[in-house]
Symmetry: C2
Subunit: 349 residues, 2 copies
C-alpha cells in the first residue's frame, strides 16, 4: 500500500511456471493446443498471483475494440435512464463494456464528450443527439470508421455521401394520432396539445399526428390549444392555467410526454378540474410512474429499455458487418389505456 506494486502480467506468470508467455496466452484463450497439465499449472499460478487480464493491451494488438460509447442527453430523465439500462444490459451480455457520456442537451458539450470517448477507440457509438446537433459536427468527431447509431431524434442537416448511420426512432406521429383518436372516440371535441418544445423533432412529429387526427375528424385547432413547455413535470404543472385562459376551454389534452402529463394532472386539481373525471389527459413514454399516477395515465408505450437492447444489438452487428445495408427502424408506439381518459358520457360537467 505504501507504494503501488506493479500489476501482474503474462510475463510474471510465464516466468513463475517456466513456460513462454505465448503458452500462457494460449491458456487464457482456452486453446486446445496446450497440454492439460501445463494449463492446470498456469491457471493455478494465475489465481495465486491474482492475475487480471489486460484487455486494453490485447485489443491494441488485435486491432479490435470491446467498448461501445453511449451518449445521452440526460441520465436523470427516466426515459434515458431506462434506455441506458437496456443498452448496458445487452452490451454486457455480448462481452462489451459501456463508455458513458452525457451531453446535457448541449451540442457543444456533446462534441467534447464524443471526442473524448472516440479516443478510447469504441467499436461503435450510440447517440441520442442533443437538440441542435448537426451532421457536420458529428462526422468530423466520429469519423467514417466507427459505426454510429442515432436514437430517438433526428440530426439536423443531412449526412454527407458515404457517411452511413443506423437509426432507431419512435413512431411519434402514429403515437400521438392514436392518443388523439382515442379521445375523439370517447366523445371529446375540444382537445389541446400540451407541452414540449415546438422546435424539437419529436415534438413536431407528435404535433403532426395530433393535427392529422383532428383534421380527419373535421375539427379546427385554435392556436391557444397548442401550448409549449419545457418537457418536464415542473413546467407541465406550472402552465396548466394556460388551458383555461381562453373562452373555448378544452376537455382533454394530448401531452408531449408523461412528465408533462403527470405535472399537468396536479395542475388541473389546482385549477378545479379532476383528471380522469372532467378532464382527460394522455401522455407519451409509459415511464414507471405513469401506471401509479392519480389517476393512472393513459399513454403511449415506447419501452425505452427494450429500445436500448435493440440499439446495442444493432450497433454490435454493424461493427461486425460494416458492409450491411443501412437500417432505419421506426418503432410502433402502442396505446396503453388507463383511467386518465374517459368517455364523455361519464363526464360530470
Amino acid at each position: 500500500m505504501a507504494d503501488t506494486p506493479r500489476r501482474i502480467t503474462l510475463n510474471d506468470i510465464a516466468h513463475a511456471c517456466g513456460v513462454s508467455r505465448a503458452t500462457v496466452s494460449l491458456v487464457l484463450r482456452s486453446s486446445p493446443l496446450v497440454h492439460a497439465d501445463t494449463r492446470e499449472r498456469v491457471e493455478a499460478e494465475m489465481r495465486r498471483q491474482g492475475y487480471v487480464y489486460n484487455r486494453a493491451a490485447a485489443n491494441l494488438r488485435q486491432r479490435v475494440s470491446t467498448a461501445v460509447a453511449l451518449v445521452v442527453n440526460d441520465l436523470a430523465n427516466p426515459f434515458f435512464a431506462e434506455f441506458a439500462a437496456g443498452v448496458d444490459e445487452a452490451l454486457g451480455a455480448k462481452g462489451y463494456v459501456t463508455l458513458l457520456g452525457s451531453s446535457g442537451e448541449s451540442a457543444q458539450r456533446q462534441r467534447q464528450v464524443l471526442g473524448s470517448l472516440m479516443e478510447h477507440n469504441p467499436a461503435g457509438v450510440i447517440l441520442s443527439p442533443a437538440e441542435g446537433s448537426a451532421f457536420a459536427d458529428l462526422e468530423t468527431v466520429i469519423g467514417r470508421h466507427t459505426p454510429l447509431l442515432v436514437f430517438n431524434r433526428e440530426v439536423a442537416g443531412s449526412a454527407s455521401k458515404g457517411f452511413l448511420y443506423d437509426f432507431i426512432g419512435l413512431d411519434n406521429r402514429a403515437g400521438a394520432r392514436a392518443a388523439t383518436e382515442l379521445l375523439l372516440a370517447q366523445g371529446h371535441r375540444r382537445i389541446a396539445f400540451y407541452g414540449g418544445h415546438a422546435d424539437s423533432s419529436s415534438c413536431r412529429q407528435r404535433r403532426a399526428g395530433y393535427r392529422e387526427a383532428m383534421a380527419a375528424a373535421g375539427l379546427e385547432v385554435p392556436d391557444a390549444w397548442m401550448i409549449e413547455t419545457a418537457p418536464t413535470r415542473l413546467e407541465g404543472n406550472a402552465r396548466a392555467g394556460l388551458l383555461f385562459a381562453d373562452g373555448a376551454t378544452p376537455t382533454a389534452a394530448v401531452c408531449y410526454n408523461d412528465a408533462v402529463a403527470l405535472g399537468l394532472m396536479l395542475g388541473l386539481v389546482r385549477e378545479g378540474r379532476q383528471p380522469g373525471v372532467d378532464f382527460a389527459v394522455t401522455g407519451f413514454d409509459d415511464i414507471p410512474e405513469a401506471a401509479v399516477g392519480v389517476p393512472p395515465l393513459t399513454t403511449i408505450s415506447t419501452d425505452p429499455r427494450e429500445r436500448g437492447r435493440q440499439a446495442a444489438a444493432m450497433v454490435v452487428e454493424r461493427a461486425a458487418h460494416p458492409g450491411m445495408a443501412r437500417r432505419n427502424s421506426v418503432v410502433p408506439a402502442l396505446l396503453t389505456q388507463r383511467a386518465s381518459t374517459y368517455g364523455k358520457a361519464k363526464a360530470r360537467r
Copy 2:
C-alpha cells in the same frame, strides 16, 4: 465502406510530414520543444487526414488509466440515475471516462460485471453495492491495486487487513431522527415508521434514528407501528391500510424513502385520510417528484447528484495518492420541510 480502411496513426502523420513520430507525439502533447512551423505543419496534416488519438495505446505505454468503473444497482432508479449523472459529469470534467455497469441488486451479477470492467484497467472503482455483497468477493475481483469507493450501503463482512476503500454514505440515522423530531415538535405523538426492508443497512439505520427520537421524547413504539414494505411506490401504496388496523392508530408516519411516502399518500386518501391535513408524512431522498407531490412532501435531502460528484472527486484523488489516509464520509441529510407535515393545532379531526 466496402472494407474497413485502416485507422490513421501517428506514423501516417509523421510520414506525410517527413518528421519522426516522436516529433508528432510532442506536438500532440503540446510540448514547447517543437518548432512553431513544424507544429503548424503537423497539425494541419492531422486535420487533413482526420487523425484521432489512440488513448488506449498511450495509456498502455504510460502505465496509466483514464477510465473509472461505475457500478450501480439499477440505473432506472432515480436516486442512482442522479448519482450516475453526477459521477459522469465530474469524471468528464477531469478528463476521465466512465465505464458503466449495473448489478441489478444481484451479488453474482455484480461480480461478473466488476470482473469484466477490471479487465479494462480502470484507475478506480465506484460501487454502490448490491444487497448481500461481501468483502470476500470484492477483494478477489477488484484486487489491491485499484482504489475502491463504496457508496450508500455498507458491504457485509469486514475487509481484510490491507484492503482499504473509501466510503460515502448518508447519515441515515440523523436524517430519520430529524424527521421524527419535526413531527414531535409539531405535536404528533403517535408516529409510525413506514416502509423499507428491515434487513437492509439503510433501513436499520433510519429505524434507529426514529427510535432514538421517540425514546428521547419518552414515547413507546408498538410493534404495529413498524411496517415493512418493498421500497417502492407501489408497495407504499398497497400497505397503507396496515397503519389503521389497530386501535392506537398513528397520526403521522416517517417513511423509509420518498417512493414509499408518495405511494402512502395515495393510499391514505383511499383510507379516508388527507395527507398534510389530518395525517403527516415524511420521506427520504428528496427525489424530483417530492416537491411536486400533492401535497409537496417533507423529506430528507441527500442530493444524489452532488454525492456522485463527490464520489468521482474522491476516487480520482485516491488514484493519484494511494498512500492517503482512508476516507469515511457520512453526509449530513438535511430536512426539507413542505406541506405534507403540519402542526397538530391545524388538524381538523
